[in-house]
Symmetry: C2
Subunit: 411 residues, 2 copies
Amino acid sequence: MSRSPDVRIPSEAELNWLTRRAVAEIVPEAELVKALKSGKHLRIKMGFDPTKPVITLGWAVGLRKLRQFQDLGHTIVVIIGDWTARIGDPSLKSETRPMLSEEEVMQNSEAILDQFFRVLDRERTEIRRQTTWFDKFSLTDVVRLSARFTLAQMLERDDFSNRYQARLPIGVHELLYPLLQGYDSVAIESDVEFGGTDQKFNILVGRELQRGVGQPGVAGNGQAVLLVPLLIGLDGQKKMSQSLGNFIGINEPPSEMYGKLMSIPDSLIGHYFELLTDVPDEELDAVRESIEKRMANPMEHKKRLAREIVGYFHSREAAQTAEDAFVRTFSKREEPEAAREIPAPANGEFKLAAFLAQNGLAASTSEANRLIDAGAVEVNGQKATRKTDGLKPGDTIRVGKHRFARIAPRT
Amino acid sequence: MSRSPDVRIPSEAELNWLTRRAVAEIVPEAELVKALKSGKHLRIKMGFDPTKPVITLGWAVGLRKLRQFQDLGHTIVVIIGDWTARIGDPSLKSETRPMLSEEEVMQNSEAILDQFFRVLDRERTEIRRQTTWFDKFSLTDVVRLSARFTLAQMLERDDFSNRYQARLPIGVHELLYPLLQGYDSVAIESDVEFGGTDQKFNILVGRELQRGVGQPGVAGNGQAVLLVPLLIGLDGQKKMSQSLGNFIGINEPPSEMYGKLMSIPDSLIGHYFELLTDVPDEELDAVRESIEKRMANPMEHKKRLAREIVGYFHSREAAQTAEDAFVRTFSKREEPEAAREIPAPANGEFKLAAFLAQNGLAASTSEANRLIDAGAVEVNGQKATRKTDGLKPGDTIRVGKHRFARIAPRT
């Protein structure tokens, strides 16, 4: 391995942080460490699905890890899954209509990349589109690619084997998707692929395909696998995800981000400190012990956590302002000054739930309806119902404890 | 269904013959009968694999059935599986080398079509090449196609489920092949697809795909399925196939064909009469009873069978000549006059087994070696060994009881 002049070799302490903190698994670990010590320049692959434009803090765990690699001089190769987004899941759709138009895909991709660059270093990021290679993929290419794996190998993937055991349908095309994701690695000649622990199977497919065509990766055997833990969502139960509504978006304003972080169960405090902050391991242990043994009010740890995270994505000042507003609201139940302004609804048919979802006050129309029915939505301090009528400039909306908005004057 | 002026409506007796004799299964039968009675013109699909240029009597069973449809005015659409032949089985081959060159595929295809036209009516045959549609198939096409089936549906195919149960590998690409064969039906808009009973699954896939895109087939639900029984090979045990060596080629000379037919076990006589001759059902029953109850020497039935079949593929006279020669040889053990002439081997290294295989006197070099070791090969009346040296013009070769050849004078 030849040393690249742009790459800095990490100290033992840095190496330890890089490969242990907020890392679930590295395969093969010794070879990746050796490569980092040799000063070889690494190309680290990260793919994303541009179907929806929202990036959650679940992503931030990995983005922060990747930024550490960039700070040593390595390159992140971001793959826009535009081919996959365009085709969607054809077993659910009409035959010919693409799931997203090319324009929608590119708009979403730009929105997502903007969010990535809140963490990643733009200068050390290479952006590639899947369609570059898949638009010219022939039937022969598909058959040769899929001939490299057996059905039994594919059924080793947990979600396939679980569904197969449970007699749930698995579309034949679904078996192709891990192969296509794996082929992305061949197309960009990655040395390492990064993902959440649920991506291990797919990343190993890419490693195997690279091996088949003699691409070395970090140690002559195809790309290494770098897995980060999955972040638990605000509910304290499930993986953070947009579709479950238990998420914080990476570009939410400071007050929303702060409020949502203050809403997590105490059991998540240590988890979030570990995966989303640079608080050293010893302090982390102390926080965990304090919460476990009820040594201090967990609220104080949570405030520090929220300050750290909001400070990282916005600024120390923004974090302090959000905290001040939160404390004021939480202690005095007064309407916050920092209510977000949203445009007045258009004239004509008005549905409160749809309006909340469109303006980011609920994850979806159905979540909004649930919240309305649960009495968690107020308009001008009064509980709203599904029948609540059109809103006018100056009206205030409160959703749950932490989401506030005010209807903007018409322009 | 509109009546076509070129189509003749069969009588009840013809209809019975068409749908019962040498037919294993028709799906859906009532609808196909209705279509035949309506005088609608049918496009009947038959695909073939041009990997090897030999067509056996196993094929003749179906070809004869298809000729009956042609005689009523229907069209046979022959699909050259040139795309599949070119790619072969990529899991067994080096990454990039095609299994057969385009030229080899076309040479084999022409040889095969010549053999088909010993039975089929060239005027009512349409010839299509798979590459016409598959060379421009995109990755999107493949994914949409495979999204129409689930893994569980594919594993209903016997050979997949058997291999899966037995933990034998199934390449992911193998799951695509039935879908591609099915797509052929969509590409040519067939009304009926013909095949051996082992093709039922694949043909039903085509029916399902046509249904998905609204192609009517015979009864508004995609192509009908017409299955003929598999012909047992000369060994009386397994399906006739070139690779097992238990076959008669459709264009073998009269004496070879006759001799091989005389070598079949008595248990096959009724089976061959049924599938390869027009001997009426009542006579067929009489033959079966005679053999079962040993009412006459089965050899006489076999001779009639051999005359019928050789007469069909060559001529009544050729069949008689073959019989006369056979009787002479068989009874007097004299060398037949009709020995085939084969060219003298080239100078240089000579291997008898390879020479026999090259000249069609054995199915393969390894079969030839087995025959030599078993003492079943004679050169100039003397048992040959693996060390038997080069042959000169005028030398005679006998392989088993029925294969004779003479080395031709050098030209």
